[in-house]
């Protein structure tokens, strides 16, 4: 038994297991099984951004979802007078830029690393390839995105209605 364990340990890739563990901890991928998470790890591209480095800029055409593994990323938007308006600070385990998976629209905000940050990119064409090869992975991700989009839209509608009622 210990020989089997030793062999298994010798054959298994600890880095790959760590990446899978990280993905499993994210809500968007929680419904995926071990093999599907393995396929997803292979579809992601990792990159480390230096502090101050811009990940994408408002107006750029979005083509990828970004998942933050470590570090911090600031999302900002340009105000009417050209000033920078802070929107949100992304923390490890959170993701952003997800709308690029649905449509190639200009980004609505600028994302910049505020400290050394490790990000995983899920590119739209990779997701489309996964949708064909492993439909369950694609459906799971798309289902989460649809729910997220719906929640945000309800919140925005509520805020708009409240604002209109105040006026």
């Amino acid at each position: 038994m210990s020989l089997f364990k030793g062999l298994k340990h010798w054959f298994l890739d600890p880095q790959f297991a760590r990446k899978k563990q990280f993905l499993r901890s994210l809500e968007i991928f929680q419904d995926l099984n071990n093999n599907e998470l393995g396929r997803l790890v292979q579809a992601l591209h990792a990159r480390t951004y230096r502090p101050g480095e811009v990940i994408f800029e408002e107006g750029d055409i979005g083509r990828a979802l970004f998942i933050l593994e470590s570090g911090k990323v600031d999302l900002t938007r340009r105000g009417p007078g050209g000033e920078t308006l802070p929107l949100y600070t992304v923390k490890p385990g959170e993701w952003f830029g997800e709308m690029a998976l649905l449509e190639s629209l200009p980004r609505s905000a600028t994302a910049a690393a505020t400290e050394t940050s490790r990000l995983h990119l899920l590119y739209r064409t990779k997701l489309e390839a996964l949708l064909q090869a492993e439909p369950r992975i694609g459906v799971t991700i798309m289902g989460h995105l649809a729910r997220l989009l719906s929640t945000r839209l309800r919140r925005a509608t509520g805020a708009f209605t409240a604002s209109a009622a105040r006026d």
């Binding site: 298994l12 292979q42 591209h45 480095e53 994408f56």
Partner: protein, 361 residues
């Protein structure tokens, strides 16, 4: 504080100039780079097998070593099983090659004189016209052995390609990950987009053509063996290898295999049996393999297809024929991605979706 990344328009021109210069440099040193190119193609085709097991959490290095050991065992087993056949056949072929050539020449001369009599032209004119056609054909036929010898340096890469391919396989996607890490952050998404497009079209084409070549080679070997045609192994290898050029494998199988059967059995029906065999193989390829292969492969216009093959053969010979279509796939992906960037960034692409005016309920 964020670093500034906007530097005017996207540097498409710079990219194309650099790519053009790199291609020209590659063309100049193509002889030295041939084994590396073949090894890269080999690793690229084999990689999905490694990726399949890697997705289960296994170490890439161990998988590659294991894969090589298993391939070595299978290769040795196949060689041991086919050794007698291969040795016998090559000895018989080298002994009979001059006889085959002289028989073909005799046959051509007889057919030429028959045709001269039948052509509705003055005998002198018909004879002169046929002489020039047949003469160049025979000249080409006599140069076939030296042409085949010209491919021998490629066989010398037989050991070098898997050796270099081993390191390509060990590295896996590492090279691309390093490229992403060093690329300016503004172009990371574009780089992944481009690589994704190239991978989709190139991978499907290369793997598809490899499956077709192996299937045609194996089916023709078994078929020729069943028909009792001499040199079945050599003909099937020739047919399989030439299948890298679309339709050429079956055509060569019919001409060489049919000719061999006709010569061996002395009847035209033997030739037609081989023709039927290769038509059957072509049909099976069309019905069984092509629907699977063509589902995700690139759709090149037939003229582009033909032009790529001619240009490839003209510039790089046999290797050019093999890599012409993959190169066209890469070029097509570059153009598609370039256009997609240009269209989306310049506002040519519409983002409107149907039903956007219906309230959210």
């Amino acid at each position: 504080m964020t670093e500034s990344r906007r530097s005017g328009s996207a540097p498409f021109l710079t990219v194309f100039i650099v790519a053009g210069a790199a291609l020209y440099a590659f063309y100049l040193v193509r002889e030295a780079l041939t084994p590396f190119l073949l090894a890269a193609a080999f690793a690229y085709v084999v990689d999905p097998a490694v990726v399949y097991f890697e997705a289960k959490g296994l170490r890439r290095s161990h998988l590659v070593v294991m894969g090589y050991l298993i391939a070595l065992l299978i290769g040795y087993g196949a060689y041991a099983g086919l050794k007698t056949l291969i040795v016998d056949e090559s000895e018989r072929l080298s002994a009979n090659a001059p006889i085959y050539l002289s028989q073909i020449q005799k046959f051509v001369v007889v057919q030429q004189s028959k045709l001269t009599r039948r052509l509705p032209l003055p005998p002198k004119v018909a004879e002169h016209a046929l002489d020039s056609v047949v003469g160049s054909g025979l000249e080409r036929l006599q140069s076939v052995p030296s042409d085949i010898l010209g491919l021998l340096p490629l066989l010398a890469h037989g050991l070098l390609v898997p050796f270099i391919g081993f390191f390509f396989l060990l590295d896996g996607p590492g090279g691309f990950e390093r490229l992403i890490q060093t690329a300016p952050s503004r172009y990371v998404e574009q780089a992944i987009h481009l690589m994704g497009e190239i991978d989709t079209s190139l991978g499907n084409y290369l793997r598809g053509i490899l499956i077709v070549a192996a299937a045609i080679g194996l089916a023709s070997f078994l078929g020729l063996l069943a028909l009792g045609v001499d040199n079945a192994f050599a003909i099937s290898v020739l047919s399989g290898v030439s299948s890298f050029v679309p339709y050429l494998g079956v055509a060569i199988g019919i001409v060489v295999g049919g000719g061999m059967a006709w010569y061996q059995f002395g009847t035209i029906s033997a030739f037609f049996k081989v023709c039927l065999l290769f038509f059957g193989i072509r049909l099976a390829d069309e019905i069984l393999l092509q629907p699977i292969i063509a589902r995700h492969s690139v759709h090149l216009h037939p003229m582009v297809f033909l032009l790529s093959l001619i240009l490839g053969a003209e510039m790089f010979g046999f290797l050019g024929l093999v890599f012409a279509i993959p190169a066209a796939c890469i070029l097509k992906a570059l153009i598609q991605v370039g256009w997609s960037w240009y269209a989306s960034e310049s506002g040519l692409q519409s983002f409107a979706a149907n039903g956007e005016s219906i309230p959210y309920t």
